[in-house]
Amino acid sequence: MIDTIIIDGLTFALPMFIMAVGGIFSEKSGITNLAVEGLQGFGAFTGALVMVIMMNSMGNGTQVPYYMSFVAAALGGMLYALVHVILCVKFNGNQVISGVVVNILAMSLTSFLTRRINADFFGQTSNKFILETSIRFDVPVLSGIPVLGAAFTSVYPFEILIIVVAIIAWYVMYRTPYGMHLRACGDNPHAADAAGIDVKKVRTVAVVLSGGLSAIGGMSYAYSISANFSPDIYLGFGYLAIAALIFGNWSILPTLGACLLFGFARSSGQAIIQKLGMPSTFNDLVRTLPYVVTLLLLVFFSKNNRSPRALGEIYDKGKR
């Protein structure tokens, strides 16, 4: 039972973590990003589309489409993030409103395109792209460790990918000049500007990166939850990722902790329900756990929470 808790918890937590890292990139640069939900959905859409096309042309048996789908998802997410960039950075729109609108557009655009592409190119009426089921593997040696070995058992390849990407993201954020500039833009854009940093450019790159990272998370959920892309991808995990990053105080490592907490709360709840033989409807109660935990912890810790100081403020060069 502990094995399933660890395996399911990680499968849920890691995609959420990479989405939250995406959110951190955007928010640390000073752009509120409620658009994570839409970005992950759009990324999953482009990834799934590429996967379906490649599966049709290459046939089964190779792992190439699987990895290409993640590349495509990241690119799609980055491209779509430009909508948020245009609305917030270029047009100085309200960032919260822009985020919500970007989400609404992603939902309608992807469900429209999915239906249309299915009808025009694959000759079927369906609002889904069926994906190949992802392989899962055991890490040799490590999976043999008692109890903790479960973390290395039946691993999705994307979990490894997410960890690698997250390490790179951490390095970029805290160890490179760009990361330094990014954090400066979120705390005091005017000082950053005075130091010769192009605030708008830094923020643009940050939001675009945020789109790519969120999209990887979205694509992972498309594989792990249902092995297809459909409008059901908009389950609100993007919003949960935002909760995780706020709870993690806008830093990458504590956010990982928050995501793991959400993941294990969810999987252990489900395991307990199964163990006690309660009806599956109780799963819905378990699903509230991450949200309830977030709210309660915010109540207790919101005083210590320190958001980037210029978060959500429109950058106006002339303002002092």
Partner: protein
């Protein structure tokens, strides 16, 4: 180009209204382009939208149906939308962003459904009771969000999103455990006595729905406008919304007004919830956060965050969403295209501030250019 933009959108008078109209027109043109690309007749499609909403006659009608019955159906869908967009508007006036309208709607709908909806009360008592329960439960959720905001400084956007999902999953649990209809997989339909829409009312040889709360929606919109523009309460809410420090300096209590704004907004969202779940549909679909709460944000923006503007904006968006079913059956186009056009209207209205700035800048440039020219001639 610049000149026409300035002529069209410049100047103070009704500027926001004109920019909203501009957003709508651009989006509709965008819709025409999309429809042309996918090989449909855009004008026939738009006509279908109107026909589906009962604003233009269809070629043929089923028995006991005509344009009037379609129009009544439109009003039925319009009622909750007006309430929901008013809820967003009130919060925006107070400087708060209420993304929790969906959760409040669910709370109101669920509370009214299980208490009055399944009881055997007679209509005269049940219907007002549904409204009151809706108002109270919506206001309670709003009060909770407001309290978290001012007592613990928790961003209202975050807490409302959390509450949306908490409420949705909890109600899903109760519906699936106790109130589910095995055929429709939704909650069992509420009794007709409690329903705020009279379904299939037979008169004049027709069968139509009567949304009883529609007049109330209009009255409430006017009332909100009155409160906001003419009373101290409205003035204080707006003052807090414009600048918290300035309001505080003027001796206006921030906490009290944040609470008040959220309670008012919640009460309106509650009305939206009961008119939607206990009126328009009559049951609750488990596992879904109603998208109306999110669309209402857009509608409120499109309506320039003005109560009366909300009525017009709701009308437009409801025509598109309501007429799209008929459009997709007539033209064979995907029903999602209606959402797409709506989303584009939203995107453009989110740019309204930029358009306003762009126009005033362009106007200034034109002015200085004109002055230089005039000077040279003299």
């Amino acid at each position: 180009m610049k000149k026409y933009m300035v002529k069209l959108l410049g100047g103070e008078k009704h500027q926001m209204l004109r920019i909203s109209l501009f957003a709508i027109v651009v989006s509709l043109i965008f819709g025409v382009v999309v429809l042309l690309i996918i090989g449909n007749n855009p004008f026939a499609s738009y006509l279908n939208l109107l026909q589906g909403s009962g604003l233009a006659p269809k070629r043929s009608y089923a028995g006991r149906k005509n344009m009037f019955t379609d129009f009544m159906n439109l009003l039925d869908a319009l009622t909750p939308m007006i309430f929901a967009s008013l809820a967003v508007t009130v919060a925006l006036k107070g400087g708060l962003f209420n993304i929790g309208v969906s959760g409040m709607m669910l709370a109101a709908g669920f509370a009214a459904t299980v208490t009055v909806g399944y009881s055997s009360l007679f209509a005269g008592a049940a219907k007002p009771l549904v409204l009151i329960i809706g108002i109270i439960s919506g206001a309670l959720v709003g009060a909770l969000i407001g309290w978290l905001k001012y007592r613990f400084n928790i961003n209202e956007v975050v807490s409302s999103i959390m509450l949306n999902y908490i409420l949705m999953y909890v109600f899903t649990f109760f519906i699936n455990s106790y109130y589910v209809d095995p055929v429709s997989r939704q909650s069992t339909n509420i009794n007709d006595a409690a329903r705020l829409t009279i379904v299939d009312f037979k008169a004049f040889g027709l069968k139509f729905d009567i949304p009883l709360a529609f007049p109330l929606a209009i009255i409430v919109a006017i009332l909100i406008r009155f409160i906001m523009d003419k009373t101290t309460i409205g003035f204080e809410i707006k003052a807090v919304g414009l600048s918290r420090t300035a309001a505080n300096y003027a001796g206006i209590s921030i906490g009290r007004n944040i609470m008040l704004t959220m309670i008012l907004s919640g009460a309106l969202a509650g009305l939206a919830g009961v008119t939607y779940f206990c009126g328009y549909v009559g049951s609750i679909q488990p596992g879904v956060v109603p998208s109306m709460g999110f669309n209402a944000i857009a509608v409120a923006l499109l309506g320039c965050s003005e109560p009366i503007g909300c009525i017009y904006a709701s009308f437009l968006i409801t025509i598109i969403s309501n007429g799209s079913i008929y459009m997709s059956s007539q033209q064979g186009v995907e029903i999602e295209i209606a959402d797409l056009i709506t989303a584009f209207i939203l995107i453009f209205s989110a740019c309204s501030e930029y358009i306003r700035m762009y126009v005033s800048k362009a106007a200034m440039e034109l002015n200085t250019a004109g002055e230089k020219k005039g000077g040279a001639q003299a």
